[in-house]
Symmetry: C2
Subunit: 316 residues, 2 copies
């Protein structure tokens, strides 16, 4: 049985995997180009996902299972994978901590006006500001109350923020003071000083934040997207930021990535751009490997008890 | 009875104070220059503190009580105030929230390497970084476990950081995983990934962080000072930052303020400088006024039940 990975998880993890799974031939590469060498012999393929195409899947005739090391599997050719009867699992659940750290970082960065003081420092300017606005008692509306949304809410509570969640049916979730269902989205948005988009990209979340949603937000709202660019109508977002419909934004994900040089987002003073890094950290591989190990065991035992098996109907 | 203030707390608070204290003549000014008009008739003086001098105290012959609207009262001529038998109170306790927000902001700012991505954005550069270091499970050593230290520890726990406190006798305090006494300071410093200085400036804390202390810290340590510049040997701090004794720092307070243009701190790439703003926020006056009101009532009733009466021996 051959396991091929187009991502390197490091020699140490490789060694342990080889030790723990002696019946598996493991071929580790740094990218899909290098992996070509063994790709078409793979029974199991480990990937970040973005390197998969319809054509590739067709050619990987032995492929039975893809372990995706991302959570968003919208970049994969899902229909083809389903058609071929290939099992697909992801690493959902491991992003809660780094993404919640990122979200609190951009909120607090905005709170202390860090970039203003950074520029002052460059010019050796000592200029105080006494009306910096605390996050204390401010409301944060979090769209999606899964692992990521919940971890953000948990941290926000330590800042005595009021946490407002939005999920499909309005069910209660720990660390949220209020929860609304999808049908009450606009109302939930109207209450937030900070708005965080965390939901996966599916047919029903595609451009779910459009004109009506941004117009529901406070004029002072600070918008954060760490989910997927396509869950937002980016053109509408840019207009909202340019026309004082909302105040500012921190954006980690975009309709097209890398964000094209032509995008007006780059130069907007009320926008902080990061290159899709909110989920990345030194802990990433360490948290993903146990999922691979568990699923590999399940695969070998044919017990079917996989972690994070993708439901092709829900697409997450 | 005359109350003079060299700081403006706004018309709304003034109106309410006048209503609640009809026997008190309240004269509100924007600064000490304007206040000169009524200064020498003051029985009670409200000030941020930095405008008080020995000479001024001598001339304010009716002065019986100073309500300082700062927490650090080291800037006041304490010996003269004591000699004259003038009561001194401060607003200790109101800085916990804004300063803890600031501390978490600079820690998380460093965590997501915000300034790097800010510069990349200016140049429309999309360059990802996968080894950003989480704060999860990192250790934070907080020198001082009063209102501020405790509030920082509370927030740090929501990030699953290990919280290490240092106080005079090593007594336990909520939200701290470990506490050390002053005599174990260097050991406590050696354990911290982040080091936060929060203690007031007194004779015994003057330059308490010197060569030995910085050399006790990890080479990867990130140092934060939101207390007083003079609790640190600034020359030693600069050397430590230049010679990789520690990694980086966020500094809000300095030996001399405003920080002189000549200071090498301004241009150091591993230093983030803010102009003594960590305790300031939109909520400042709102939190200080109730202390003034309480103490004014105590003053009029001669009951002696003041909040935050300064002990001239301890000097805080």
């Amino acid at each position: 049985m051959n396991l091929v990975t187009s991502l390197s998880f490091g020699e140490e993890h490789l060694k342990r995997l080889k030790n723990n799974f002696k019946s598996v031939n493991i071929y580790m590469y740094n990218n899909i180009e290098e992996a070509k060498e063994k790709l078409y012999d793979a029974d199991v393929f480990v990937t970040y996902g973005f390197d998969m195409t319809n054509k590739l899947i067709e050619k990987m005739e032995r492929l039975k299972w893809i372990q995706c090391f991302s959570t968003g599997i919208d970049v994969l050719p899902l229909d083809k994978i389903k058609e071929k009867g290939i099992l697909l699992t992801n690493v959902r659940g491991i992003h809660g901590i780094p993404i919640a750290e990122y979200v609190m970082a951009v909120i607090l960065n905005y709170r202390i006006e860090a970039f203003k003081f950074y520029e002052q420092q460059k010019n050796k300017i000592w200029k105080r500001k006494s009306d910096l606005e605390e996050v204390y008692n401010k409301a944060i509306t979090i769209i999606g109350t899964g692992t990521i949304g919940k971890e953000i809410a948990r941290k926000a509570k330590a800042f005595d923020m009021r946490t407002i969640g939005v999920n499909t049916n309005g069910r209660n979730v720990d660390y949220f003071d209020e929860i609304y269902s999808n049908s009450e989205l606009n109302y939930a948005l109207s209450k937030g000083d900070y708005i965080v988009q965390t939901v996966p990209l599916t047919k029903s979340t595609y451009k779910m934040l459009g004109k009506e949603q941004f117009e529901s937000m406070k004029a002072t709202a600070f918008f954060i997207n760490i989910a997927r660019g396509k869950t937002v109508d980016e053109k509408v977002l840019i207009e909202a930021l340019n026309n004082n419909i909302i105040k500012a934004a921190a954006i980690d994900v975009f309709e097209i990535e890398p964000l094209p040089k032509e995008s007006s987002l780059w130069a907007m003073e009320n926008v902080f751009i990061t290159p899709h890094i909110s989920g990345l950290s030194n802990m990433y591989i360490n948290r993903a490997i146990p999922i691979l190990e568990h699923n590999l065991k399940a695969y070998l035992q044919k017990c079917g008890k996989y972690i994070n098996m993708i439901d092709f109907n829900k697409k997450y």
